[in-house]
Subunit: 103 residues, 2 copies
């Protein structure tokens, strides 16, 4: 089974989730989505190069943290809270709280 | 300031903590130390090569998760809970709980 298929089937891997969140840029995306709900890639890129951000969004999607949907020419992202909270209760909240303490 | 000096000064970096715990072998070490308290490197290596384990212990130490003390020829490790819980309350417990759900 490919990694993409595993994500589609809702199989969340703790190591992949923690790896995705161990990067400050990706963690900042997740925190922003937590606060703002659905956001476009452009609103989340912080002026970083598109190729860099494509990589970060792919890692977040493959970890099952973020889902991207296409509306016309806009890619909209949202946090996949429910499956993550069901698989690992309290994990995402504790990491978002920790991120808030870092600033 | 070197990374080692930062750890010595008690500066914990969330990204480094999450990266350290994103590896299944390192996460298993942390879970075992959580349950058993102080353990020798030999009791934690799971039969893996010494060079591999040296790398994993170094990453855990540099993240501020584990402290190693030398008693004669034995290296004893313990979890640095207090500074971690003070810096990021609930984080380690939520990750240990998540690891227990993975099995």
């Amino acid at each position: 089974m490919s990694r993409r298929e595993q994500v589609q089937l809702g199989v969340l891997h703790l190591d992949r989730v923690l790896h995705a969140l161990s990067d400050p840029v990706r963690l900042a995306i997740v925190v922003q989505l937590h606060h703002e709900g659905e956001s476009s890639c452009a609103a989340l890129d912080g002026g970083r190069p598109k190729s860099t951000m494509s990589h970060h969004f792919r890692v977040l999607r493959e970890a099952g943290l973020v889902q991207t949907t296409v509306h016309g020419v806009t890619h909209m992202n949202h946090l996949c809270r429910e499956p993550l909270d069901a698989a690992f209760p309290g994990l995402l909240d504790s990491i978002i709280s920790a991120a808030a303490r870092v600033g």
